[in-house]
Symmetry: C2
Subunit: 150 residues, 2 copies
């Protein structure tokens, strides 16, 4: 079940609109990086995108791919799945808990909830595989950072 041609076109059009709206240039590289994602369903990483786009734009650099992805994310055109900047965070609290992550300072707060511990997993997930753990991730601005911003 690939992304339909029509949906890809719609997404490309949204890119064009967003660029016109902001003061962003609609460059060849930007279009090709986004096109790669517009048709993908497998959450590729930056390197994969780079390798694929390179077939069409041989001179493109890794840096451009990274920069473009960051720009697209800022513009709300793509979504980056990741917790933090890649640094693992550890704790010795083994009780089942969930996380509130401040997108500003990266601080993580634990919280507990019986209701959230026992989430209703949609039946469709079963086809992906066997679920071993479920966790809720909340993102937002922590009280501390919100204060500092004023």
């Amino acid at each position: 079940m690939a992304v339909s041609k029509a949906e890809i076109e719609r997404r490309m059009e949204r890119l064009a609109q967003t660029c016109r709206g902001g003061r962003l240039k609609l460059t060849h590289q930007r279009m090709e990086v986004f096109r790669e994602l517009a048709g993908a369903e497998d959450h590729p990483d930056a390197e994969t995108i780079y390798q694929n786009v390179r077939r069409r734009v041989p001179a493109i650099s890794r840096d451009t791919v990274y920069r473009t992805l960051a720009t697209l994310e800022e513009q709300g055109l793509v979504h980056k799945a990741e917790i933090l900047s890649g640094r693992g965070r550890y704790d010795a609290n083994m009780e089942h808990h969930h996380h509130f992550i401040c997108t500003e300072c990266g601080r993580v707060h634990d919280f507990y909830s019986r209701t959230l511990d026992d989430l209703p997993i949609p039946r469709s997930v079963a086809s992906f595989g066997r679920v071993e753990s479920a966790q809720v991730q909340l993102r937002g601005i922590c009280a501390n950072c919100a204060k500092g911003k004023r």
Copy 2:
């Protein structure tokens, strides 16, 4: 609200038991790395742990901290909060969705659920800050990897 002395002792005892149980040595370094986590509530990263432990064990190396954290995680004594191996994964699908992550191959599958889109956030979270998004993360073994394992 620091971790109580009693709870720290309980955790240290669990470490000792686990080491005796497996064929793990109860080394000075291992104890100090774990002690650091047993008393922490702020999900420190490896570097922070290294810097703190170094005050007590000046000769400890970063590698030992990383290795020890991995061992403790394997033994179920600590918990590592992180999505993937640090590589960001992108997609152009901006509809609100949740993720099933295969812990074996790292593949990510999207799924949708009205119920999960509107989770009951515990009141206590409000004191941490303003929540901007909520997402459910399921982890498990995908059908493909489960097949390959046999």
